[in-house]
């Protein structure tokens, strides 16, 4: 190029922070965002209030408050069992998905092999496809294998979307690690196992936590996959609640609301636990305290 172009932008004068008048776009954005959050909160609160009320219909506030729905919900046949199943399935699925998916993601990120792109695309499919599109066939397969209705089958079908999810999340985190760092670890005496435990796992922790939390949320909310394959004793909480809701002569609304509050509590608990074990924001900001 023969011509030299001057930089087209002259830096705009910095605005005094905090004192500028809000623009129309800002007002609009905040209003919409505020409304969205308000509606969401209101819905959540209404569920909790329903669970706490003796009866609530047509008035602003319920006629009376009680904690008995929670005891009723707990005593409902199958609820305690389905909470236990939910925990078992969630823990098993997240553990398996991380144990298999993180090393698999490492291989996909590091090794250039033929068909790599095809694998990545294939891994994307169960993540983006609505589970309903393959839930029935998957359940049929489980029954054909003779494990339909068992806890094992519930764990297996729920692995289908989250294992690829873990792989997809791991790949960019692995790509961030310089290959030279791995080479340095090897030259200084780390075999493959110690390369993994002393260098890769600590560096991948933010990715592992992200993958774990997202898989956990997905398993807890997974309705379709579990619905078609689970039996009476292997239902997860979400399936039990759906059963209660869709039964016309079923339990009163306050009872199902109380069940739903249990469900919310479990999801929150899962999130808090995963963030407690490893806070992604802190992992790279502090030197590891564990000894080498």
């Amino acid at each position: 190029m023969a011509t030299t172009t001057l930089a087209p932008t002259s830096a705009p004068a910095a605005r005094a922070p905090g004192f500028s008048r809000p623009t129309v776009t800002a007002v609009l954005t905040w209003t919409v965002a505020g409304l969205f959050a308000a509606v969401l909160l209101a819905v959540l609160i209404s569920v909790i209030v329903t669970a706490l009320s003796t009866s609530w219909g047509g008035t602003w506030l319920p006629s009376g408050y009680t904690l008995s729905w929670f005891r009723h919900a707990w005593d409902t046949p199958g609820l305690a069992n389905s909470i236990a199943v939910t925990f078992e399935v969630a823990i098993a699925d997240v553990a398996i998905a991380l144990l298999v998916g993180v090393p698999a993601g490492y291989v996909v990120a590091r090794k250039k092999f033929p068909g790599r792109n095809a694998i990545m695309l294939f891994a994307l499919l169960p993540v983006i496809l609505p589970p309903l599109t393959y839930a029935v066939q998957l359940a049929a397969l489980m029954y054909r294998l003779g494990i339909g209705g068992t806890l094992l089958s519930v764990v297996l079908v729920n692995l289908v979307p989250i294992l690829p999810l873990v792989i997809l999340i791991t790949v960019p985190f692995v790509e961030q690690i310089s290959p030279d760092v791995e080479q340095a670890a090897k030259v200084f005496g780390a075999d493959n196992l110690r390369l993994f435990t002393r260098v890769l796992v600590p560096l991948l922790t933010p990715g592992i936590v992200a993958a774990g939390v997202l898989s956990l949320v997905r398993v807890l909310g997974s309705f379709e996959l579990t619905f078609f394959v689970s039996g009476a004793t292997t239902q997860t909480l979400v399936v039990t609640i759906f059963g209660a809701l869709s039964d016309p002569g079923g339990p009163p609304a306050a009872l199902t609301a109380a069940m739903t509050v249990f469900y919310m509590a479990i999801a929150l608990l899962g999130l808090v636990i995963s963030l407690r074990f490893a806070n992604p924001a802190h992992t790279l900001a502090q030197p590891a305290r564990r000894t080498l």
Partner: protein, 379 residues
């Protein structure tokens, strides 16, 4: 309980030898071909060449990060090219530092010792001693990302020193640093080498770095050794036009051979005149044979017209470099000459240049056009 990777003291080590080491990637021409090298205890050997000459491949083969296609590597009587990298016990310094970002400076330096299962107290002591050597003791508890590039590379050097390796491998350790820091750390490396009696294999594309540090220089070209010698030998008597170009002989001209002179002297036609030079290439040169003439900018002397090999040229560009002037001059035959002088020269003035016949080197042609332009950093 000394495992194979725990041979840390240099006492047992005498030589590292590479025999016919060859590395081929796919269907490409070999990245390294039939590479022989002996590295004795206390040597500082620099592998020098432009990018793609095979120098980094050689280092990776020794470190165990690349497999050999052919050949073998021996440490004294023990064959090591069949061992994995983690069992070879070398220390290594990388171009981009390659520190462990999640570990503190001290833990980075301790890493090799921890892998060797050295007891905790001794490990800390040795790590701090290594950090003291690179003058970073007070930064021991920081993370690598809190340090500057130069400091990070010092940490990397300390990490290599801490395991007291028989050989330290350095892969362009100064290339990511800016000019002032590069010279400072270069001196630092030399000081540590001398104080600790290290054995170093050093890869670089920068001839100045190689000359300043090495006790022995290996110039590589397209995966093959072009010349091995002391820095003085390689600098004053490059064995080929390629090495000459790499050693700062900026004036490289095609010429044709005329007639032999006294001893190794010969007369060649260049710049439309007859120039007396010294033939370096072995073997007889035919009359009229194509040769390459190499002259260092420092060896072109600004004269008054008298003297050997007098050439007239017009000074085109004059750069002030402090102690000296760097001048680009053009001859009547349109050849561009580079010279350095302490005499005042005005741009546009007519100058006469002379060069001693023993500093005008004549090579059998064999330099491909542009071959020396690709390297970065070599001036």
């Amino acid at each position: 309980m000394a495992g194979p990777a725990r041979r840390t003291s240099g006492a047992a080590f005498e030589t590292l030898s590479l025999r016919g080491v060859t590395r081929v990637y796919g269907r490409n021409p070999p990245a390294l071909y039939d590479f022989d090298l002996e590295l004795g205890r206390g040597d500082f050997v620099a592998l020098l060449g432009p990018s793609g000459c095979g120098k980094s491949t050689a280092l990776a083969c020794i470190a165990g990060l690349q497999l050999l296609t052919r050949g073998s590597i021996w440490r004294d009587g023990e064959r090591i090219d069949t061992k994995p990298a983690e069992k070879r016990g070398f220390g290594m310094v990388f171009q981009n530092y390659a520190l462990f970002p999640h570990l503190s400076v001290r833990r980075n330096v301790e890493f090799g010792l921890a892998m060797r299962k050295v007891a905790r107290g001794q490990r800390q002591e040795r790590a701090l001693a290594a950090l003291r050597t690179v003058q970073l003791e007070e930064h021991a508890s920081k993370l690598p990302s809190q340090l500057s590039g130069g400091q990070q590379q010092r940490v990397a050097i300390a990490r290599a020193l801490a395991i007291e390796p028989e050989v330290v491998l350095m892969d362009e350790p100064l290339s990511n640093l800016d000019a002032a820091l590069r010279i400072e750390l270069r001196t630092e490396i030399k000081r540590i080498y001398q104080e600790r009696g290290l054995t170093v294999l050093y890869v670089t594309h920068d001839q100045e770095e190689a000359l300043a540090l090495a006790t022995r220089l290996v110039v590589l070209r397209k995966g093959r050794i072009e010349q091995i010698g002391t820095p003085q030998e390689v600098y004053t008597n490059p064995s080929s036009a390629y090495v000459a170009g790499f050693m700062g002989y900026r004036n490289l001209f095609p010429a044709s051979y005329r007639e032999p002179g006294q001893g190794r002297e010969a007369r060649v036609s260049a710049f439309g005149a007859t120039v007396t030079g010294t033939v370096i290439s072995d073997g007889r040169l035919e009359d009229g044979a194509g040769v390459t003439v190499a002259i260092r900018p420092e060896d072109l002397i600004l004269g008054t017209g008298a003297g050997p090999n007098a050439i007239e040229a017009v000074a085109e560009v004059v750069e002030y470099h402090g102690r000296e002037l760097s001048v680009q001059a053009r001859t009547a035959t349109d050849n561009v000459l580079h010279l350095k002088t302490t005499e005042p020269v005005a741009a546009g003035s007519l100058v006469t240049l002379t060069a001693r016949p023993d500093r005008v080197l004549v090579y059998r042609s064999g330099l491909n056009r542009g071959e020396l332009d690709v390297e970065a950093g070599a001036s």
